[in-house]
């Protein structure tokens, strides 16, 4: 009997193997159409118009939700739900001509009323939009006919079309907007399917999409906070793409492996050592200057990021056309730092605290920065904190001395003009300059103004500028179409496909 059993199971096995072989052969003809991507952080919810978390946009932007315009992989503004637009001579009136035949995922038709609803909702006083500043220029939104919208501005705004391309400015449905946090309903090429909290979110292709249909019909976003697990998941093939890989030390290993493609790009993430300008001794400009000179950016980049990342001397991304390299203004010079501290009245230095959120760049960078500060006499006690604590204590409560964080929003120089921001930095001249930039649409003039603003921040040293955060993209070598850079927080899957 034993032999019989063995015989049957062997036959069964052979049949199974044959079927599997056949199936895999068939797969070779039909290109693969599913993808599992990994992200470090899980979003708190999925409504991009009601939250600041980058993880929301990294899932929904361009996939589930679309705006009037969209930001492309190169950072340029492209048409989206607005097929075209006209701008008046005084640059204060925009007429948008909308796409025809667009439907939301719940079947509701999209028209001009949804645009008016979305923009009015975002700029309403009770709005929970995290980027209300994007809408401040808007004076009035009028529906001209179901496929035409006129937006009147209070003043000409050079950023208006760009701002309408942000995840925070996407168009939501009049009937479905309230439920977008748990079940997002947009107009995009992917529909939300399910969310296993703590593990993954699944999107499915939208068969009724108005535009060109993407090659993928299923995309899974998996959340892997641990860098060691991230490396293992990629190596094992559990995930086929990690658009922003968290362990720079493991990158060379993937670069040497032909199964993977490693694409090093740029992000809008200015990584800084923030100082509480309202709290002594950081209210003393000389102390802040001393800190700026005490920091060796190269050591931070080499030690914390394994050489990935670009040093910055102000709060501006090096790939931007208006960037000026100011890293030479505040050179690493511990002697000068000690001298400045003495002039500030701290010849023996002082003791302070450094709160560090969980990402590797902050924890490792923090250890190196603390050692560099110690070398000039500043003893910074490291306090590791979780993200929730960081947001609560540092960002909202402004209860901190020093902290390290990357600010990943694009075009966010204006945070230094906000009185209530956690830096507690106040400079009326800088505020006036930011207002002027927002009201200027001429490119050459804007560039000059941006450069002046960068100079002010380098001179004032409200925070110490460390590095522009790199985008370490690692994915299966057969995968095409993922973004190299992060001009905006997004993992746009519309152009992603498997080759062979």
């Amino acid at each position: 009997m034993i032999f019989r059993t063995l015989g049957t199971s062997a036959r069964k096995y052979a049949l199974f193997a044959l079927t599997a072989l056949l199936l895999s052969a068939m797969n070779a003809f039909a290109a693969r159409s599913d993808l599992t991507l990994a992200m470090v952080l899980e979003p708190p919810h999925l409504d991009p118009t009601a939250g600041a978390a980058a993880a929301i946009d990294e899932i929904v932007y361009a996939n589930i939700f679309e705006g009037l315009t969209r930001i492309g992989p190169d950072g340029a503004v492209k048409p989206a739900l607005a097929a075209s637009w006209e701008v008046s001579a005084d640059e204060k009136t925009y007429v948008f001509h909308l796409q025809q035949g667009v439907r939301f995922h719940d079947g509701a038709a999209f028209d001009a009323d949804d645009v008016k609803f979305s923009l009015d909702r975002a700029r309403a006083p009770e709005s929970t939009n995290a980027q209300k500043g994007l809408f401040t220029a808007i004076d009035e939104v009028e529906v001209m006919d179901p496929s035409t919208v006129r937006v009147s501005l209070k003043y000409p705004s050079g950023d208006f079309l760009y701002n309408m391309g942000w995840g925070d400015a996407v168009i939501v449905g009049r009937t479905s907007a309230a439920g977008n946090k748990e079940k997002p309903i947009g107009t995009g090429p992917f529909k939300f399917q399910n969310w296993a909290k703590g593990s993954q979110i699944v999107l499915a292709g939208n068969p009724d999409y108005w535009g060109e249909k993407p090659a993928l019909d299923r995309a899974t976003f998996r959340f892997i906070p641990d860098p060691a697990a991230a490396t293992a998941a990629l190596l094992a093939g559990d995930v086929q793409a990690f658009p922003s890989f968290p362990a720079p030390e493991a990158v060379p290993q993937f670069q040497a492996d032909p199964r993977f493609e490693v694409v090093i790009g740029t992000t809008e993430g200015e990584t800084i050592l923030a100082e509480n300008n309202a709290r002594p001794p950081f209210d003393n400009p000389k102390v802040r200057e001393a800190i700026a000179h005490a920091i060796d950016r190269k050591a931070v980049i080499d030690g914390a990021m394994f050489g990935f990342g670009t040093p910055i001397g102000s709060f501006f991304p090096p790939h931007h056309p208006a960037y000026v390299d100011l890293t030479g203004e505040r050179k690493y010079d511990p002697e000068l730092a000690r001298k400045l501290l003495t002039e500030a009245g701290y010849p023996k230095g002082f003791r302070t605290t450094l709160k560090l959120p969980p990402p590797t760049y902050a924890r490792r960078g923090g250890e190196i920065v603390a050692a560099q500060l110690r070398a000039v006499g500043i003893e910074a006690d490291i306090i590791p904190v979780e993200w929730a604590q960081w947001l609560d204590q540092v960002f909202k409560g402004k209860d901190y001395d020093l902290t390290i964080v990357a600010h990943t929003e694009p075009n966010d120089l204006n945070i230094f003009a906000r009185d209530d921001y956690y830096f507690n930095y106040r400079n009326p001249a800088f505020k006036a300059l930011i207002a002027q930039i927002e009201a200027t649409s001429d490119d050459a003039k804007r560039k000059a103004l941006y450069q002046r603003a960068q100079g002010i921040l380098s001179d004032d040293a409200p925070v110490a500028f460390l590095l522009q955060f790199p985008k370490l993209g690692i994915w299966d070598a057969k995968l095409q179409g993922l973004w190299k850079n992060y001009p905006i927080q997004a993992n746009d899957l519309t152009a992603v496909k498997w080759t062979d």
Partner: protein
């Protein structure tokens, strides 16, 4: 001569000597960051290589041993200092006091040690002090149980009856007769708890709940080595070895002591 006692004692003394030596001498400053010298394998200049910040791993292990030993020592001290008197009291009085104390111990036991420690450090924040308290609290019921069980069997012996008949007070009986008769057992338990304390400290600092940087600790060294394992395996190997050897040494010492002190052998 008992072999495991000799080996265990030798290893334990060696680790203790290393910790003491680190107060006066280490090959390098254990906290000195030297990025250009990062991730070097073992060489003549750096016997155990360097970590991702270019710090000397041998120096870090030496200074880290101080942290491990101090945490384990104080934790065992808290556990034994509070647990043994409680156990003796429970054995002496019996009745409702014994019941209550033992059920209270059950309550502490019901939480796994590491979870308890994580809870305490989550409430009061990470740091060496909180790690000590967390591990110490878990040690209390361990010592109380061992002391109570051993003391109970001593209390039923005839020489206790004799001492009582002579009019000795209960506290005198404990110090003169009960305690000396259970010292062997407690000594063995102390070495075992000490080894567990070293492991617990490594576990907590691995989870980021131990002493914050820059003070080196064995557990955090392992954590930092985790993502570098393909790049610099020595970063994980040496602190891992330090933990294994130390715990092995203490366990051998405990085994040896039990064999030597046990009158039945």
């Amino acid at each position: 001569m008992n072999r495991s006692l000799v080996v265990g004692l030798a290893i334990t003394l060696l680790v203790a000597a290393m910790a003491l030596l680190s107060f006066v001498w280490t090959p390098y400053d254990a906290t000195a960051i030297d990025i250009p010298a990062k991730l070097l394998g073992p060489t003549a200049a750096h016997w155990l290589g360097t970590d991702h910040f270019g710090r000397d791993i041998l120096s870090m292990i030496m200074v880290g041993s101080r942290n491990s030993i101090a945490v384990a020592l104080v934790a065992v001290g808290i556990g034994a200092g509070i647990g043994i008197p409680l156990g003796l009291l429970a054995a002496m009085r019996g009745g409702w006091l014994d019941e209550m104390l033992m059920r209270l111990q059950d309550l502490v036991f019901a939480f796994p040690a590491l979870i308890t420690a994580i809870m305490i450090t989550a409430i009061s924040g990470p740091g060496a002090f909180n790690a000590i308290v967390a591990i110490g609290i878990f040690n209390i019921p361990v010592f109380a149980r061992v002391a109570r069980g051993a003391a109970l069997s001593v209390w039923s012996r005839q020489f206790i009856l004799a001492a009582r008949a002579l009019g000795k007070s209960e506290s005198r009986i404990i110090t003169d007769h009960v305690l000396p008769n259970i010292t062997d057992l407690l000594t063995v338990q102390i070495t075992i708890q000490f080894a567990l304390g070293i492991l617990a400290e490594a576990g907590l600092s691995y989870l980021g709940l131990g002493a914050p940087p820059p003070d080196p600790s064995w557990g955090r060294m392992l954590f930092e080595a985790q993502t570098m394992i393909g790049l610099a395996p020595h970063m994980a190997l040496f602190p891992g070895l330090a933990i294994v050897v130390t715990v092995l040494g203490l366990n051998l010492l405990g085994d040896g002591l039990r064999d030597v002190l046990d009158p039945k052998r």
